[in-house]
């Protein structure tokens, strides 16, 4: 069993969020609540289901993280990109004006 956090997108603006121990949905993966076993993961999903009903988020799911440093980091590339944004600079950053 890997360590996991629950992630989703906010309903109103679509931004990537994670469930924090405070019960807030926050933007920083490093501050997310980490589930170390299946029961804890189940509870994360359960709380996410409430947030759907409260119209806060859409499409919650568990992602695998490594929490060696105490702060969760996404295991898969897709989740790393969701956590930190595109790996390519948008046009105005790399093109002369």
């Amino acid at each position: 069993m890997t360590t996991q956090v629950v992630s989703a997108n906010r309903l109103d603006n679509g931004r990537v969020v994670y469930l924090a121990p405070s019960g807030q949905w926050i933007g920083a993966l490093s501050e997310a609540e980490v589930a170390h076993d299946a029961t804890a993961a189940e509870s994360l999903l359960h709380r996410a289901a409430t947030a759907i009903i409260d119209r806060l988020i859409v499409g919650p799911y568990l992602i695998s993280v490594t929490a060696a440093t105490g702060r969760p980091q996404a295991e898969r590339l897709r989740e790393q990109i969701r956590a930190t944004g595109p790996t390519v600079a948008p046009a105005h950053h790399d093109r002369a004006a």
Partner: protein
Amino acid sequence: MVAIYHYDDADRTLVRERVAQFRDQVDRRLSGALTEEEFRPLRLMNGLYLQLHAYMLRVAIPYGTVSADQMRVLAAIARRYDRDYGHFTTRQNIQFNWIKLEETPDLLHDLAQVDMHAIQTSGNVIRNVTADHYAGAAADELDDSRIYAEIIRQWSTLHPEFSFLPRKFKIAVTASATDRAALKVHDIGVRLHERDGAPGFEVMVGGGQGRTPMIAKTIRDFLPEHDLLSYLEAILRVYNRQGRRDNKYKARIKILVHDLGAAAFAAKVEAEWAEIKDGPLGLPEAEVARIRHHFQPPAFRDLDAPNSLHVAKARIDPAFARWLRINTHAHKQPGYAIVDVSLKPVGGIPGDATADQMDALADIAAQYSFDEIRVTHTQNLVLPHVEEGALHAVWQALGRHGLATPNVGLASDIISCPGMDYCSLATARSIPIAQAISTRLADLDAQEDLGVLGIKISGCINACGHHHVGHIGILGLEKNGQEYYQLTLGGDPGADASLGEVIGKSFSAGGIVDAVEKITVAYRALRTPGEAFIDAYRRLGPAPFKETLYAAA
């Protein structure tokens, strides 16, 4: 007046009411009256996706025609609702990547002010109709394909019977022997031609890319103009009723055409058509004439004496000469040229344009191209009507905004989907691969020597980056958490369309760049004088290329 379709009150009413309808749907979603499951198809029908980082809105640019004023509004939207840029796509649309659901109705309202919308840019509906991006300008065209694309756009807009098809449905139109719209990889491709002086259409059905790529089959050689819509309705009705709905991967019309066989499919269409061909969908000449009126050629000047200013300038400025050779195209009007605007700077993101670039283009189009801009399916833009005498000024103006890379059609003119940097369905990134390849192959002399070479990259099996029809196609996949890339060779989207073949085992992100370079080296060694890459590949087959890539590993 700029040669775009000008909305009248009825067209405008429809778009404004659609905005109000969507505003109400968004309100009901935000208030909880609609669940996500109920709302998702509704937002998709209006081009709104939920992507990796945010909502993404796809705005329709019907048949790729956009006026200078419309382009300015796209720039304003990029600034106000997004992060100052947009992404032009292979379907002649533009996508905004950082959209908020709650702001979408206001965004759509702003679009509607210039007769634009996001209607049917997603969902299992008839999607935005695409056409030849040189329509109305190309020396080799028979007619302006946008006339028929607009007629199809109107018929398909909010079509009540075809709003819940088995799967998405894409129609493309051309009116020239040269296929610049990839007709044969569309659900329906319509090609205007003439028989005994009367206009009519060749109708091709069942092409597509995605996980099961197929080349469309011609089911009718010549369909009279009058019957265009009734025939399309017959095809759509057969598909709506008989297309598979049990498996989303088998739901496209190409599977139905393939399973039945083109002849049996055509017979069903003909039988359905026989019932409705004399009905209300007949296309009156007056209606065609009304639409045609909107696409009247702009007020070209009589330029019988060829203006040689650009020729003289080219003689003394090789950089301008190169751009002329590569980024301009023959116009039907003497003294005018079509200008290709590259959105593929070396190391850049294919298809991305900043708000400032959009504004600059609008200004250049207003000054030099009768207010008109086109979006191409290769993710570039076009200034369709530039006087030859102004080409040097246009080149300089484009250059000031990073829009004059002389590479259209060449190796660094790469098509790439957003891939894993933006797309929630991706299995690998595609943009960084495009950037690395265009940087590796940047040398302009070498590119010109390589000639026409289409490199196309998709970040997953859905093939939005057209890799199946790339001369060199690249498909990003994932195994054990690693990105890897499959190479195909020999695809082509043109009139003689073909699908690329996988030629061997896949490559790492670094390896694929080396592999592409090796292919170009091998081609250079193997070609006969003047032979294009695709022709060399068709003559030689995969063997020599395999050898270069995999021998003595």
